[in-house]
């Protein structure tokens, strides 16, 4: 069984692991690196629960081969809170009760972070279409969108303050 040696960066830390070539980045994160915050909802790129950011691009980690992560920068939910302080999006999701069971929340937070990184002032429609790849069955999306828009406002103030 020919495993591939992969060295990459996850949430700013250099990591190395052996991965079967057919292993997905999702399985590598969960089973090799014990980062179980990224979730598998479907395994076919249709639900977004496994969303991570690779080199600044939002992707489904179930549709990325682990060897492809060689030399890339991977960001997962575990790296979103810095220095014990929740990211504004994490805080707003709590304040707006934008999660119930919370299974889709890690993927949604990654997608929302990628949205605000690329479009700091999204309209409601832009936010809804950007987040259309992240299925949520509990909330009906209302409070999720309100939390994202609220966080966008706060991040803009932080920038201009």
């Amino acid at each position: 069984m020919s495993k591939v040696h992969v060295s990459t960066t996850v949430n700013g830390d250099p990591v190395e692991f052996l991965a079967a070539p057919g292993m997905t980045l999702l399985d590598a994160l969960r089973d090799e690196l014990d980062l179980t915050g990224t979730k598998e909802g479907c395994g076919s790129g249709d639900c977004g629960a496994c969303s991570v950011i690779v080199d600044g691009r939002l992707v489904c980690s179930c549709l990325v081969l682990a060897p492809e992560a060689e030399g890339r920068r991977v960001e997962t939910i575990e790296g979103m809170a810095q220095g014990g302080r929740l990211h504004p999006l994490q805080q707003k999701f709590l304040e707006h009760a934008a999660l119930q069971c919370g299974f889709c929340t890690p993927g949604l937070l990654m997608a929302a972070k990628a949205l605000l990184d690329s479009n700091p002032e999204p309209t409601e429609t832009e936010a809804r279409y950007w987040l259309a790849g992240n299925l949520c069955r509990c909330t009906g999306y209302d409070k999720v969108i309100r939390a994202v828009m609220d966080a966008a406002g706060e991040l803009r103030q932080e920038r201009t303050a």
Partner: protein, 762 residues
Amino acid sequence: MSETLEKPAVLPALTVVGTRPIRPDGADKVTGRAAYGADFTMPGQLVGKILRSPHAHARIVSIDTSKARAVPGVKAVVTGADFPDLASEVHEGGESASNLRDLANNVIARGKALYEGHAIAAVAATRAEAADEALARIKVTYEVLPHVTDVLEAMSPSAPVLHDHLFTEGLEARPEKPSNVAKRHRLARGDVAAALQAAEVVVERRYTTQAVHQGYLEPHACVAAWGQDGRCDVWSSSQGQFMVRTYCAKILGLEIADIRVTPAEIGGGFGGKTTVYLEPLALALSRQAGHPVKMVMSREEVFRATGPTSGGVIEVKLGAARDGRITAAQVEMSFQAGAFPGSPVGAATMTSLACYDIENFLVTGWDVVTNTPKVAAYRAPGAPIAAFAVESAVDELAQTLGLDPMDIRERNAVVDGTKASYGPVYQNIGYRETLAAARESEHWKAPLGPNQGRGLAVGFWFNIGGESTAAVHIAEDGSALVVSGNPDIGGSRASMAMMAAEVLGLPIERVRPIVADTASIGYSMLTGGSRTTFATGMAVVQAAEKVVQTLRERAAKLWETTVEQVEWKGAQAVCLDPAKADKKPLTLEALAAQAGRTGGPISAQVSLNAQGAGPGFGVHICDVEVDRETGQVSVVRYTAAQDVGRAIHPSYVEGQVQGGVAQGVGWALNEAYIFDGDGRMENPGFLDYRMPVASDLPMIDAVLVEVPNPRHPFGAKGVGEVPIVPPLAAVANAVSRAIGVRMADLPLSPPAVLAALDDAAA
């Protein structure tokens, strides 16, 4: 007996209940630390996988597992023969009355494969590839039988019969031949035939819906470890760890206390995780292998082999006077039960006319087995299907009479004192107030644009109470733990902590809610039936009150006065004894610090069977826009008013309403099980089983109406299930009014709407 309670004594200044604090378990969920079913691992664990039937209906002639056992790394292989044969004993442990033998035969087939995807055998191995290899080497000989998936075909005398022992229950005379019709439900009052004859106007139509899935994002997952001493541990994601414990014990023939089930966080359930699929298999594999076994379903397995809700056919005939008074209603419903009896047609029968004060009605419900996955509960089981038909018929009646749909609901509305269609007299219901809230909403008065339509629909659900246990412990520093046995799906930890904090007078930050395993708290029925905040909340409040009583007794001892002279206010004991005016109040911290010397730890546990759960009512308004060239429907506005008794944490109550609406909209527009000619599901994935995405929905305005339930200390009613009942009809009525054609068959996919437009033009 139970005197009609006057308006409930609502606690005067509620400091915590009704506010919107951050949920105590929130940080784990937004940082990815929360552990769901698939996030558990144990040293030495094996990977378990299931071999599933490729046939929708087949006799299992033989299963040869010898080659599978020979695959390197395979440690265990089980089939139906490895499980005790259970008597057909009805058991109350789960949601509705479920037949244990059927449950066991659904976990793993015995003698017959009854739907494509039915579990036939299971293996456990050191690596996933070895497990797959083993599955490929299990040799099953099937005798393929003709199958039936459509409910009406399954009822016909010529249909292939799934169970030779199935004789229709609930008929006047016991039938001689077995059939696929498991049971007839019937609810009747007055003389419906005469009333229909005398009615000035009659509307009549057939409605159909397809099987749909709860659609929780988290696939079923568990880890099971069978100890050498016969004691077992299970970690699994479910709506009730006690339910899992009971079912595993019954299916495997174990002592209940020998199984400890630790609840993982649950990634959505909506009723679909009120039963077991993997846990008994993982335990049986673990016993054989002597290792823990982890099993995680793929999304395809969740669709093919776990309970959807029924597809149904509903005939409705309404008779009314010109002024809109409905004088007669005849409803007949046939629901798919899937491979084993147990569709929610009974609940549908009881809820179908629950919002209407009607003299004469006959409601009949047929529970019909089909070669499709065994139906499981799905949020207000059965009620959305019945409401789709009845609310559409009432809308058509309003159109026929030229009446405003809101007026016709109010004219026939049930109020306190009305005898419900399912029997009892209504008390403390908020239906009229909810109708008023919807009528006064800005949405109801707003103008409509071109190609738009507005649909109104109402809905009802019983809500249940049931058995719950909760404990409150005061730590040495005066902070509190509130422990319960109900998994937290929609934020119930927050409401438990809030109710305990309210009684103790503490801020919520000093109360930590814990969901305990089955060995650490007394028995609790599962989270479902919108019961947790009502029933478990009642146990939490009573436990907190017992703790306050203890604290007052300790203060009385310290002040050498009587407990009646001690008042508990703002988390401290206040001395009222005029003879002890010098006594300064004793804080919770002070009393907790001296607890050892004043009598021991301060904690209390309460177990109860909560009665008198108040039923909930919802009134929904939906605007849609239809693209007349393509048939596409988009929901442009949605308002949902609901009587919630008393919102403990309003944000999460709104969340229940918004989530229920979103599921209802998906059910109305795009969701459906599609079966091919061989009874195989063609769309077992989120690509072609289309649930609403963020860009499909507008903001959903939840209007909370509070008519308190006197049987709950803070007036709470169940809120989780009502919101999914009205949307199917709210959307269908909106589309029907937008295009001027009554839409009677779900889902309202673009081709279906375009075909209706063509028929209307022809």
